[in-house]
């Protein structure tokens, strides 16, 4: 229950952070809000020799609208920054609403969007909705930067494709043709519960016909996953209760959940069916909520 000893740095720039990470290699870990990492360190699941805190990188704490392009979310925005962001409320309330359903108020005050992504916990709440909205992640390393589709960031439970020296600096949600999006989280209580299942959808509906759809599932596979068969099925279909219900059935066939203390695989699979249907209905009827 006590932190191991470590060396601590709090660089003033991303470049300096990358430099330090490159210098210490495997021994170093980036620290953001610490709500995942400090818990792991106290539980002896993690013992980095060097901790590089990114808390001083003020430029990464803003949500901004870039006209005609989309919304830029600084990687160090806390969950409550997302909840309170007027830009998100107006453009992609579904992201703010996903953040609101996370953890509890104390954790939402500290935990960051970067930490939520890079922790790569299969039940994390933000990745599914970001994937559904086709968001990208900007990674800056000692030798340069790259931008990845959100779904390509994850490599397995607790694993991402980030190199040792890379820092996640920005999440970009592009301007959409999608007319609506929604994330439904199912936890075993209203607050302080991890997702048993999380379903995010985005749809483009014109004259009652689904032109395009993206469906992303959380907590039902090793990483957040796209339900691509479901997406294909939806394209070109008229919005009817039957179509949305059928989409749910297809999505439930696309997940590979495990059984754990919170729920059985069988129940999770069934929840995917219900939530896909419900999230689609909301996105169709209410826009980005």
């Amino acid at each position: 229950m006590y932190l191991p000893d470590f060396e601590y740095y709090a660089p003033e720039s991303v470049a300096e952070a990358c430099q330090l990470l490159a210098q210490f290699g495997e021994k170093a870990k980036v620290l953001a809000g610490g709500t995942d990492m400090v818990v792991k360190m106290k539980n002896e699941l993690l013992a980095p020799e060097v901790v590089v805190s990114v808390k001083n990188l003020e430029q990464l704490k803003k949500v901004e609208y870039v006209a005609g392009k989309g919304v830029s979310v600084g990687a160090l925005c806390t969950h409550n920054d997302l909840v309170k962001s007027d830009v998100l409320k107006e453009k992609f309330a579904s992201v703010a609403n996903a953040a609101r359903q996370m953890a509890n108020n104390q954790v939402r005050n500290r935990g960051t969007i970067a930490g939520n992504i890079v922790s790569a916990v299969p039940s994390a709440d933000l990745p599914p909705v970001l994937i559904a909205l086709n968001a990208t992640a900007k990674l800056v390393g000692a030798k340069g930067e790259r931008t990845l589709a959100m779904e390509d960031v994850f490599a397995g439970p607790g694993k991402t494709v980030l190199a040792n020296d890379e820092v996640l600096t920005e999440i970009f949600i592009p301007e959409q043709k999608m007319t609506g999006s929604n994330y439904i989280k199912f936890g075993l209580r209203k607050s302080g519960a991890l997702a048993v299942v999380g379903v995010a959808v985005a749809v483009q509906v014109e004259n009652g016909v689904i032109k395009d759809a993206r469906v992303a599932l959380g907590a039902v596979a090793a990483t957040p996953v796209r339900a691509k068969k479901t997406e294909e099925f939806l394209k070109g279909k008229k919005v009817t209760d039957d179509v949305l219900a059928e989409a749910g059935v297809i999505a439930s066939g696309e997940c590979k959940p495990i059984s754990d203390i919170r729920a059985s695989a069988e129940y999770r699979t069934d929840l995917v069916r219900i939530f896909t249907k419900r999230a689609l209905r909301k996105a169709v009827d209410e826009g980005h909520v």
């Binding site: 229950m1 006590y2 509890n104 199912f186 075993l188 209580r189 209203k190 607050s191 302080g192 519960a193 991890l194 048993v196 203390i261 729920a263 059985s264 069988e266 129940y267 069934d270 929840l271 219900i274």
Partner: protein
Amino acid sequence: MKEYKVIGKSVRRLDAVEKATGTAGFTSDMKLPGMLYGKVLRSPHPHARIVSIDTSEAEKLPGVKAVATHKNTSRELFNTSATMTFTVPPMQPVLDQYIFDNVVRYVGDEVAAVAATSEKIAEAALKLIKVEYELLPTVYDPKEAMTTEAPVIHQCEMKNVPGEVIQIPFGDVEKGFAESDVIVEKEYKLPVVKQAQMETQAAVAQVSLDGKITVWCTTQTPHPTKMILAKLFSVPESKVRVLNPPYIGGGFGVRIGCSAKAEPIAVALSMLAKKPVKVVYSREEDFIASDTRHAGYVSVKLGAKKDGTFHAMHLKATLNGGAYCSFSVETPGVLGCMGLAVYRVPNQFYYGHSAYTNTTPAGAMRGFGNPQAMYAIESTVDMMAEKLGIDPLELRLKNIMQVGDPWVLPYKCGSTGLAECIEKGAKSIGWENRGKLNKPGAKKLRGIGMGVGTHVSNAWPFCGDYDNAYVTIQQDGSVHLASGVPDMGTGTSTTLPQLTAEVVGVSLDRVSMTLADTASTPFDIGSHASRALYAAGTAVVEAARDARRQVLEYAADLFKVAPERLVLEDSVIFPAGQTAGDDCAGSPVCTIGGKERKSITLKELAYDAHQRNKQFIGVGRIVPENAPPWHAHFAEVEVDTELCQVRVLRVAAVHDVGKAIHPVICEGQIEGGVLQGIGYALSEEIKYDDRGRQLENSFHKYMLPTADDVPEIETGLVEAHEPSGPFGAKGVGECGLVPTAPAITNAIYNATGIWFCEIPVTEEKMFRALKEKAGKTV
């Protein structure tokens, strides 16, 4: 009716400012000069013999001042719970544990402890202790534990059954069933749940060079805990002081006696290290190594006449006691007695006991067996109502206990407002809408259900039980109260001063209380069994009356009238029949300081007495009666049949608490109990894996309802005067939890047509039940 000045009013709690500002003292905040920190090495195995234990490396670690194991600590058998000190003869307390033993019996059992200059060092030292275990066979289910194949966990007369089997005969149950027209029989399975009190188990022990032991700790029973520690360490009780500092962050029964082993371990380490030692359990330790509620099985067989009159009931309980006997004899006792006390059934029988298993010890938790009993009984009553085609509310009204009815308890049913509770609660929930809430084909189904119950206001006859209190008038006429009961958040430090102020005749701000300290308060068995206000309160009233009597006798001399003619009100003494004031012609006149007076303030009188070398010291010594509080809960639920999730929308909880000394505190107790009851019904459970490890060992995993999960709770108070209670009051603390789970499960049945005979009704269970139902109806 008499107008009261202080009681019956929701005055500002006397601990409010301190608690709201974070300045109130708790054990976990304590720091003494030179204090060391103790940490405990716990067994990773559910049942094993310690073949060898090597502490030499740990002792060498700089900063480590003592390492305690079974080799260098007390070999006195004891019981961490207060049952060790107040088991009623001819029953004998079960003594089945040592501070450390060479056999471990559950995952989390104590193996060794270290005292060091920091917590971090102490924890590092634990890793240096080398223990070799020989694994032993295990058993986790109480029924299995009684079979011949099961390993012996402790030697008992009946295989793995601690103490004795409780049997309560009443009438002729065989004949009763033979004469019944309708019989319903069902077995229910109950989960392990946890008190989840805010402050974890904690103790700070200081052993002086002359052998005096002082322990600040989180116990709900300082005086009995003093007795336990004195016996365990072979020290005279006069040399042991146990106190709360002065608050405890909740209890719910988890520390009636020692705070798990925090006190014994802190004292043992302090004796070895010759320095004060602080032991604070982590939340995980609190979860796995301090008493839980008893899980197990309760079965009910209920027989009734066609017209709905109950005629026979057989109640049986097989509880999971865990690895050591805490309250494993008393809990089945209370379960049976409360279960048989709600309805007038002429023929009854109860058979109940616990069994040892390789799980965390089960002990006292709010309700103490009663929630287990009432979940089973109230479910069965609803099944009976359905079988008879009678409204469940009517069926209850027809059968509930009435004042003066014969029952199984050795005290009278002296009051009941249950019928009124039922009527008020029904109105508040809209009982008449029951069965009319759902449109055909709806996927979200609503339902309404109810449950009722009673409880105790005191621990007798299940434990020995008596109370004392001192009320001393200070030299300036202010009043000091000393009572041994703690305030674990339940408001005792406000309500007992309220009683004192009312009886003596002063305003509340003139009263101050010392509580929960064996050195400055007389013996009291502590805060549990919903008893602090009812039982300790009776002693306080007695002491306050004594002090007042002495004051009036002293004043009578001055006024030259009989003491009975004098009034003491708002700190002023004057002859009856006239108001306090100076110009009351013809009144008796007293002389103080050469002046003639028609009234005198308590302040002047107390100082006058002081100058004549006298203090008024009121003593209350009582052996309390017992009395039944009553309660009816109604729940409205919504079951999302697609998600398989139950949401409690509303709860109406109406309680007969006797006189409500502080109505808001009563309501707070009820609301908290309701929420705990919701967790019991729907989400809380500690399960074990196949290696005996507790799967839910943190607030993250254990699904305690959060503030966000609180439904609308409408509380109601019914004040049926209880002749044996202070100002007519009875217990309230535990009651909110008693009938909540069955009100919810009955509402779930009303919504879905599914009986759940196992709680909690988790999403997963609902998923399986709905699937099964769909499969059947297809």
